[in-house]
């Protein structure tokens, strides 16, 4: 799949994120839009997966540690064919399989239940350890929020991944610089985040998280890196692609109104009622 096609898919996913949130009137647009290219790259090119066999033992795994990013995860899984796109209309509604935060029990393609921040990296470690133990060549990917890295458990897990030399594990940090209460540097400074992961024994790569070229080149470098896990620090824009949501902490966990959604989707080159 070439870059043009991936960009088309990313656009569709962004539009579906906005549509889902407009329907549910609840959920998290900012940190979903910032991670669209990362998930598109993984699910449409990189990962060894089979939408018809979501529990396939030898599949690559993906853990959305920043579990509030369900809109981007669900829109991507639906686009990739794990479940019908119509399901997206039921996001966050009663009796829906699409829970507010990822539920591995009921949603095809979700590899780990998350939502409480800080827990996904440990789970990804467990998957990577199991892969090593069984001599399986599957790879484990995990997406962590930059604000999420304020959780102490992230650093417990960071130590373990390096200690056990989990080179089958690749983490992405969605480095969008914002969290609910404002800028990460004001709420609780995490910088220099690259130096911190390096000091914890990780191979660290910094990229533009909206560039497919840079994402794939970083993934290739991670695969070539032996004896240590790789952290890809993806510099991203929270709310990416929707002008009035970009770089606004207020759009962390707020759904757009009908009018706002129409405007956002028009900017993305689509139509709300399409």
């Amino acid at each position: 799949m070439d870059k043009m096609e991936l960009e088309k898919i990313a656009k569709k996913i962004r539009i579906n994120i906005i549509k889902m949130l407009e329907k549910s009137q609840s959920g998290h647009p900012g940190g979903s839009l910032s991670a669209v290219e990362i998930l598109t790259a993984l699910y449409f090119k990189e990962m060894r997966i089979d939408p018809n066999n979501p529990k396939w033992e030898d599949r690559d795994r993906f853990v959305l540690s920043k579990g509030h990013g369900t809109p981007v995860l669900y829109a991507t899984l639906a686009e990739r064919g794990f479940f019908p796109k119509e399901e997206l209309n039921s996001f966050r509604k009663i009796n829906s399989i699409l829970q507010g935060h990822p539920d591995m029990k009921n949603i095809p393609g979700v590899d780990m239940t998350t939502g409480s921040l800080g827990q996904g990296l440990s789970a990804a470690n467990g998957m990577a350890l199991a892969g090593k133990l069984d001599n399986k060549d599957y790879r484990v990917y995990v997406l962590i929020g930059d604000g999420e890295s304020q959780e102490g458990m992230i650093w417990e897990a960071a130590m373990l991944a390096a200690h056990y030399k989990l080179d089958n594990l690749t983490a992405f940090l969605d480095h969008n610089g914002l969290q609910i209460d404002g800028k990460t540097q004001d709420v609780m400074n995490i910088e220099p985040i690259d130096e911190k992961f390096k000091a914890f024994g990780w191979h660290v790569i910094k990229i533009n998280g909206h560039s497919f070229d840079e994402i794939f080149s970083a993934i290739d470098e991670a695969k070539r890196t032996k004896g240590k896990p790789t952290m890809i620090i993806a510099n991203t824009v929270k709310g990416k692609g929707v002008s009035f949501m970009e770089n606004q902490a207020s759009w962390h966990g707020k759904a757009p109104s009908h009018e706002e959604a129409a405007k956002a989707i028009a900017e993305l080159g689509g139509e709300l009622d399409d």
Partner: protein, 308 residues
């Protein structure tokens, strides 16, 4: 003389035996493998053992990840840290997705002894019992511990197994049969019923002997599964005897006593007297002297039975 074996020692041995017959078993510890006895497994199967360091949240989170890939992880630490420090990880990464993780925590209760209140878990049953999908086991001796570990491995889903530090009397022989969800009547009795768990089962049996000398016939039930609780055996006791005494090395709030009282209140109201720690922390000292000091004595069980 009665043989004395700590349930944690039985746990280490059981893990090793289990490891021999089931290669899906993996064990995780947080720098306490010598105390929790997971070191016995580590020696036998070093590549299936993971020390995570002093990091209980990551202990449980890593176990959850291993479980998603088909492993049967046993994660161990002291009960205070395993259930307290890691509570929310147990809730969200293990119980909510109903992953096949076994949390075998040692050093529960007052019999931790000299380490004192900071290390004496007296609320672990209460918090583990409140989690959907969690099974809660508290074996009374070494024989039952081994069976608990094997049954926990056979069962698919989260299990909390409460174990102790101190050497305790071996009260069962090879004919004893443990089943998840079943209380076991150890002694017939028609006047009162004593329902005990863990280290208090031995004390309940001794209290029943003393009561017999006074002409009070006490039924003794070992409730080693606290969740799901065996309703039938409780209802039967409530109907057939004057009242129920519960005995546990745990707070009277939320543990065995509460579980029994909930069943009794709903199905067959009768008098229930709970013996346990009375909403208080423990302290340093000899473990068995502490049991006596905090009212978890044979004498207190006898006294309470007289009141029924």
């Amino acid at each position: 003389m009665t043989k004395m074996v700590a349930t944690r020692d039985a746990y280490g041995e059981a893990l090793k035996e289990l490891g021999e017959i089931n290669d899906k078993i993996v064990v995780l510890d947080a720098d306490l493998s010598g105390s929790t006895k997971t070191s016995v497994f580590q020696k036998a199967f070093p590549n299936r053992f993971f020390n995570v360091g002093i990091a209980e949240q990551n202990l449980i989170g890593t176990a959850a990840g291993l479980a998603t890939a088909g492993k049967i992880p046993f994660a161990s630490s002291f009960a205070v840290f395993a259930t307290g420090r890691a509570f929310e990880i147990i809730r969200n990464s293990v119980c909510y997705p109903k992953l096949n993780v076994k949390i075998a925590a040692t050093h529960a209760g007052l019999t931790v002894g000299e380490d004192g209140a900071s290390h004496q878990a007296l609320e672990d049953i209460s918090v583990m019992r409140s989690l959907p999908n969690m099974v809660v086991l508290c074996p009374a001796d070494a024989v039952e511990t081994k069976q608990c570990i094997f049954k926990a491995a056979e069962y698919y889903g989260p299990v909390y197994i409460r174990l102790g530090r101190a050497k305790v009397p071996v009260i069962f022989d090879e004919n004893y049969k443990f089943e998840i969800g079943k209380g076991v009547q150890l002694r017939e009795g028609k006047d009162v019923t004593i329902i005990a768990t863990g280290v208090m089962v031995d004390r309940a049996l001794k209290a029943a002997e003393k009561l017999e000398e006074e002409g009070i016939s006490a039924r003794v039930i070992n409730m080693s599964t606290i969740k799901p609780i065996d309703k039938d055996i409780i209802i039967k006791a409530a109907k057939e005897t004057r009242g129920i005494i519960t005995a546990e090395e745990h707070s009277i709030i939320g543990g065995l006593g509460s579980a029994v009282a909930e069943v009794v209140a709903e199905y067959c109201p009768t008098k229930v007297i709970r013996i346990g720690t009375m909403d208080t922390f423990g302290e340093s000292g000899d473990g068995f002297e502490l049991l006596d000091k905090y009212g978890l004595s044979v004498e207190n069980i006898v006294n309470k039975a007289r009141q029924l």
